[in-house]
Symmetry: C2
Subunit: 531 residues, 2 copies
């Protein structure tokens, strides 16, 4: 049996005996935590009739001039907890507030130390359409989706993590509320709420064990360097669960609780919903309110988005950090995906572009080649693409529903793209000369990716748009076979000469011979001037 | 010489002698005006040092429970005017307000009568992505651009109107401030401002003759059924004009003046700017302020947009009624243009998609076939496309700069498309099944346009997406050759039968033979059931 994950990440753990009331009760256990790791304070306390609903608890965390407030939560067994992800190195002080005398005015200090090398902090938007970790390290999402992987038996989930570890994926979309079982071979053993005596769910009483398990898996993902794109609502529940049809007060209590529990995990992203517009019980104003609740209550300010079916939620709201798009067409050809960027200057993540699969539903019939193409079409449009797979086994498992094994042909090719992007400009690949060109992205004057998709050109005349280039600049080139995963350097240096008012060409009008196959790309990189 | 247009449209004209102050001075001349025509009140008055800057004048117009305020303006020669486009039939009362005693508290009544048959009122947004006149008549923009046509000699402008009359165009983009003369063979004789003794322009003193001429041409367009998309600012002026670099106070005075003059013309659309992002002197906050000024001061609430070069102004602002897009790529293939609709639920008008032309600049090199294709690609994406042409004559005239003659091959084909759209569903053509299909638009169950662009299919299996259709429904089809402008009815009726979970086919799996040429479309229309 695995150790409970939280045990591995507690850097401060203070068991308090109920003390007489005072203005501020110092907590003796002062300790240290790494930047962007979890500081967790545990306070035993009385349990009124419903400790989930009747107890307010928070702590103000202060370091120098900055302060944040994190809400606490009841974790069962008479234990209350407050978690906090310290954003800066240095001394921190905290003090609790509660409507229970036993929990209020507890205070203490801790030191926040330099993070370990693999810890880059939470992911933020950077350079308008792109992302980076808080420490500045580029983060280029290569996402996948496995809605129900945390509702499986432990050995299955452990196997899933092993699969993820050897995959290219650095983000996974996953549900909090269980999928309907029909899509889920094994009935979940844990549910987010307690059941009432009449068999219905008590939306005012959470089951901490459910959330402890969820947290364990989010921590496992974090340790693999994978962002958990946590989907808070979805329309795929069983009718007897009805978690998509709770009252606004229940929705808000749930969000308050899960934000308190998860916001200190640095790899959490908030996805308000999957196919939000299919959740008929909620209106736009509900989504507005819930987005703002999360924005207000998450002291770590994790990324926030919402995924749609037919109708787009207005992504220009300040509480939406990036677009989470479902669409099978926008990244299926040249020159499409980039339009979403024009209306809303935020990153565009195509989280669902249909699935590599062999099922009857037409959204689950992409070939590996088509899925791979979508990643490249999205990349050269300055956007990011997510993978999906529905290639089921005899037991009804498939990657998209339950996780387990990857069976498709695209993941290896997506890993190849990831390798390319890992050495691409850290600020992100931008479409270049895009009012006239749809094949070229990169960073003008430095780095170009030219993708030919299904076209089969026999050669490419070396020609670059005028932005940021000049006569005499030198470039090298590699031929990328995006399907066969080969990088073939071109044994030549190209020297620019002005061709016309728009472009520069190689001074000898050199052309790069190409293999005449589909899914070829070119990578062009500046060769620094000799000293 | 043409009659001054205003003479033809004045339905109320009251010359007032300065009367002693009273709480409200009734104006005896009560008359009538047609709905959506121009009620104009002329008040002689004193002229302080600068009647453009020092006089405030407005009138409140009341009919039943509704009221609107229209600002007045100084029209030269000691005359002040207030214009109003009555939006409803019935009795109207007005009363003026001014800081000049001679102009304030003038009141009167008039009757607003049923409009003449060709008068459908101003154009409004209808059905989210589409337009209609105020009386409900569909309006489907088929626009063109002639930036400087109102700065030409009168006979040239009259010829331009004759060309427009026989063209398909029902909207024209046109500048208020003159183009730099280098793009304009004949130097303008009128300018919007008075010149100061030092040769610079006095931005606080307008030249009413300039605006009277502009109004005459807007009225001429109106009488041809053409919307005037009036571009209020642009970056193409001469350095000695500097109308794009005025102070905010001057900008606001200009907008106040032109809104007072033009807002009663029912065919006016406000285009805040052409390539607004190239007007370096103004910031986003300036555009926000100016949009809101127009929104507040235009009692007729005309359509408002802004046209961009590289950077999009946020179209989700409530003061933007529709998107005015410049782009050469978004309507150059299947499946692109529709994405703009997803982020912002407003009509998308591609006002500039490059030009049919033969000039060196690459934006002016479209063939007639390419321009025609763009109209069709835009149409089946649920958007609207505008035409442009730069095929110059020896004198330096070209349609895009000065107007005159149309020389391209696309206008006739655009007229053919207009003929098709005139009998298409009045609520607008919508992309259908658009997450899987990029070729089909229309109205599910009733009307389908299937455009093949450059593809050359030899046949089309009769197959429709499941929305709004059922077994046994009957359809007829026409083959449209969008380049050769022919409509060929298919001599067969097609009867639907469920094919799979997504589509219906003809019950006999009928296929429509196609000519194997590019630019073919199909029109599929429901055949009503026999009684």
């Amino acid at each position: 049996m695995q150790a409970h994950p939280i045990n591995r990440f507690i850097f401060a753990f203070a068991i308090l005996i109920a003390l007489p009331l005072s203005a501020s009760t110092p907590i003796p256990n002062s300790t240290s935590v790494h930047q962007w790791d979890i500081f967790e304070l545990t306070l035993p306390g009385p349990t009124p009739t419903n400790p989930f609903a009747d107890v307010s608890l928070s702590a103000k965390f202060t370091s120098g001039d900055s302060s944040s407030t994190a809400n606490g939560f009841y974790d069962g067994g008479g234990q209350y907890k407050i978690r906090f992800m310290p954003p800066t190195i240095g001394q921190w002080h905290y003090q609790t507030q509660s409507n229970l005398p036993d929990l209020t005015n507890k205070s203490g200090d801790f030191t926040c130390e330099k993070p370990s090398p693999e810890n880059h902090g939470p992911v933020r938007v950077r350079n308008t359409y792109h992302f980076a970790y808080a420490d500045g390290t580029p983060y280029k999402p290569i996402g996948t989706t496995s809605y129900g992987w945390v509702f499986q038996p432990d050995p299955f989930e452990d196997h899933m993590l092993a699969t993820l570890k050897s995959s290219p994926f650095n983000k996974i979309r996953m549900l909090v509320f269980p999928l309907r079982y029909g899509e889920n071979p094994d009935k979940p053993t844990l549910f987010p709420y307690e059941k009432k005596s009449d068999g219905t769910w008590d939306y005012s009483r959470f089951d901490p064990k459910f959330f402890q398990h969820l947290e364990k898996r989010i921590a496992d993902l974090r340790d693999l360097g994978i962002q958990a794109d946590v989907i808070l609502f979805h329309p795929y529940g069983r009718d007897d669960l009805r978690f998509d049809r709770m009252d606004p007060a229940d929705d808000d209590r749930y969000l308050h609780y899960i934000v308190a529990r998860l916001s200190a995990y640095r790899n959490v992203w908030w996805s308000l919903a999957n196919e939000f517009d299919l959740i008929r019980s909620k209106k736009t104003a509900d989504w507005d309110r819930m987005f703002q609740l999360i924005q207000n209550e998450d002291p770590s300010n994790h990324l926030r988005s919402i995924h749609f079916s037919r109708y787009t939620y207005d992504p220009t709201h300040p509480w939406v950090t990036h677009m989470s798009v479902q669409n099978g067409m926008a990244v299926a050809d040249f020159g499409r995906a980039t339009w979403l960027r024009d209306i809303c200057p935020k990153p565009v993540v195509f989280d669902e572009v249909r699935y590599e699969g062999n099922i009857e539903a037409r959204w689950g019939q992409l070939t590996g080649e088509e899925m791979t193409e979508r990643f490249w079409f999205g990349t050269i449009a300055g956007t990011y693409v997510g993978h999906g797979e529905v290639l089921g086994d005899h037991a009804g498992h498939s990657w998209g529903s339950t996780g387990g094994d990857l069976r498709g042909e695209s993941p290896a090719r997506i890993a190849f793209l990831k390798k390319i992007l890992d050495t691409a400009p850290p600020e992100g690949v931008e479409p270049l000369d895009r009012y006239f060109e749809t094949h070229i992205a990169g960073k003008a004057g430095e780095y170009y990716l030219i993708y030919f998709g299904p076209e089969k050109p026999a050669e490419w005349p070396f020609e670059l748009y005028k932005d940021a280039v000049s006569d005499g600049m030198k470039f090298k080139a590699d031929i990328l076979d995006t399907w066969n995963m080969t990088i073939t350097p071109v044994d030549q240096t190209f020297t620019l000469k002005r061709h016309n008012q728009y472009t520069f060409r190689d001074q000898n009008d050199a052309k790069i011979p190409l293999p005449g196959k589909p899914w070829i790309a070119l990578r062009i990189q500046r060769v620094p001037d000799a000293k």
